[in-house]
Symmetry: D5
């Protein structure tokens, strides 16, 4: 089950600098709560770290923890976003989730944190 | 026949957040009112929900209800736009309709609602 | 309803020559007999004419006549194939139908007539 | 010979709305006045209608009327632009002409009307 | 757990004809037995039916049944192949499994049954 | 009007050698005899010369001579083929004509001369 | 040797209009002054004319005049830029030179004149 | 230093079956013995196993062992080929090495073992 | 070992002009300090020179000096950035490092110096 | 001037093995003897060595020696072919020359030596 405790961070060695880390995870999968069928998607995270960076292996394990969770597109996207914001407290963070076609329809969900509250 | 009553919504669980949902429907078809020939197009909807999100399956049925309607490009696009605005009352919504070539000419129609009236 | 009577032919002016006509129809649509949902596909026809060539506009009308028919992938492909063979009696004919993804799965059906009976 | 009288319009049914119609015509051809050789190009028109929309079939005939005209790239582009402005009196219009390579060199010409005079 | 009993078939209505059905399933996932990490792949099946065709929805459920199985690339591919051969007894069948990169290395496994025993 | 007299040849300096010359002419246009509308296509010629090679500039002028001719796809392709065979008497020649979409349908015509009569 | 005297212009017939001409020359070559080896690049010129347009054939000859010149990437780009500015006195001009890989490294140089001095 | 002892194998569980395993390693690097500069390439291995399959992690380590070796393209390719043949004794094996451009020239080397001696 | 002393510069001959030099190095490799495994990436540098330009061959040698260094993505990117800023003192500089997939995850790091301090 | 004396070879260390070396040279240029204008092309050489391999740097210098030669497409291709055959005496060699468009027409020339005389 999805577990934000899996997310680990390491110290940003260049905290005075404004730079961007972009991470693309094309192997995301969860389960549709209505049909029980697996959903597949690509998660992209672009962020400017403040004091902490996300450790990549822990991010992989965190995203894998959704594998057998039943959860809607909009909600899974917002929940990953919330967990990353809480864990990293970044200057800026953009989360884009691109889901595979269902019923001939493709859906993306994008959430942006621009550092001015939310 | 096109029926906006088919559109269903569900409650946006993150109404305080400004985020974007993008939906791509590559299997849209209606009928040209002049020639009676079928038209084909791709409908893309990008929106920021306020209180409501569009339910994807109902959107599919709604778009399918144009299948045997005779209606011009410009009008079908604006009508889908009007129905989505009325149904979702979104903060922002952009509708792009890309129609297949006819007579060697390709046509797109794009309508944008930016939240400030229309 | 699908009507092979719509298919018209014209005389091949180069019957002594072995040449190939390839036709690609990316706007094919019919209806799934189980779910009532529209299916979409691309029909490709490669053939070597004997005495007759298919008239393109009539081919378009013939393919459009499947628009509201409920019929499975495998059967629609084989039926179009049968109608073309009967109508054209070509030296060779290959029919490829590529259907859009359903449930994350894409299906093609290909039938080949090589002139030696079937 | 190029004839702007061929351009027909129809009434924009959504005059109060700011939306965009994009038209791509990949089959434009005229003749080089210096060499008498045919030139080929792709004409793209993006516009926001005021009271009138261009009728697509008439646009096709209008563009075909350049087929045997000898006229330079820069001039044909500006003349089509002038004719469309005069005929549509649009809020905004952008015309892009992309010509095929000649002598190993490719040329595009782009004219923009932004609604503030010209 | 992977269950070949999930595979359902329907009768081939054109058994006297030699034709090809191609199915592409880009959403296959299982688990590496050594690391416990999920693997992702694309399964492609090309076959010529004899008396039976595979029912697509049942194929999807069958492939989904590998979701939490720990099994190596080479073995999962050969096991799916065996199950399809047993279930369909096709004239010909080709199975291609393309797995996502691991450690910078991409692996495909392809098994072909050409109808002459195996 | 199409004029095969425009085709010029030059002597093949390597007549004892079996090699291939491939020519691609993406700017072919003629007129549909039924509708009077221009057709556009791409002509590809692959040939192995015997004693003569086609001069490229003369080939361009020859293809341009179809510009205002009303002629069907199948016939224009076969006529160009006949003219090239007569003019070049090549060991082998393949002509592929790919026409732009009309009514949502794309058509190619391919004629092959393999040196053994026709 | 590079000779800016080769550049010819013609009168801009629409001097009151702000429009853009884009020219792409993928066949540029000069010589590296250090190694004597040929360099290859693609030159792109986007400009808004004032009173004069560059004549395309003369531009081709001008760029060809660098063929046997030994000159560094940065300098050849800036020199072409200077010659075009002097010759055309355009409202705006952007020059992009994209050079082929050397030692596994690709280099582009871009110079922009925005009309406000330089 | 390149060490074929790094290659490990595991038992082929389907030895009676003729199937193909394809492995693509886009991160190969060694050093040019003449210039001391690093070379980069993509190694592709397609093979039909007899009794043994190559273990993927060991293959990665084996290919990494060339990282600081000075060796020519042709020789490194043939040496990897020899080591794989010796280690796997496969029914068939094809090795393709695609090296990055040097001096504007790209080189591939391909070796094929078809099982009939070599 | 990474050695910024390898970076050489040459005098910018157009210091009064604001122009951009873009350099793409697709053959960067270093070593992961945790696993000892090689990492691969593409380094892109876009900069506007002040008094100095980077000499391309020296840049290649400088980037090669990371070949056997154990260093994390974030740190190697920031260190190259620091060395370039110190060496070139450019008006503007953007460094983008795109690393190959590890564990199914792709990572980019981008640092921008816009001339106003850092 | 083109000089086959520039071609150098080195000894094939695996003469008993049948393998293929593919070389792609995208930076070939010569001069049209009729117009004096430069031509550009891509030369691809695929060969199976007998006793000798072509040295890549010498091949580059050899191809560069055509830079200011006036020579037709068909002849330059056959001459390079003759020089390579004479210099390498390969088991098999295929030469493909792909020339850039002139007058809207693209030309390739391909010569194949299959080891059985010519």
């Amino acid at each position: 089950m999805a577990d934000k405790g899996l997310l680990e961070t390491f110290e940003n060695e260049f905290p005075e600098r404004d730079y961007t880390i972009s991470i693309r995870c094309p192997e995301f999968t969860s389960v549709c709560p209505k049909t029980g069928q697996p959903d597949f998607g690509v998660i992209t995270i672009d962020y400017t770290p403040e004091a902490k960076c996300v450790e990549l292996k822990s991010l992989k394990f965190y995203l894998q923890s959704y594998r057998n969770d039943g959860i809607f597109y909009e909600n899974v996207t917002n929940r990953i976003f919330d967990d990353l914001i809480e864990s990293l407290q970044p200057r800026r963070l953009r989360l884009l989730a691109e889901y595979s076609a269902r019923g001939g329809i493709t859906t993306n969900v994008e959430v942006v944190h621009d550092g001015s509250g939310n």
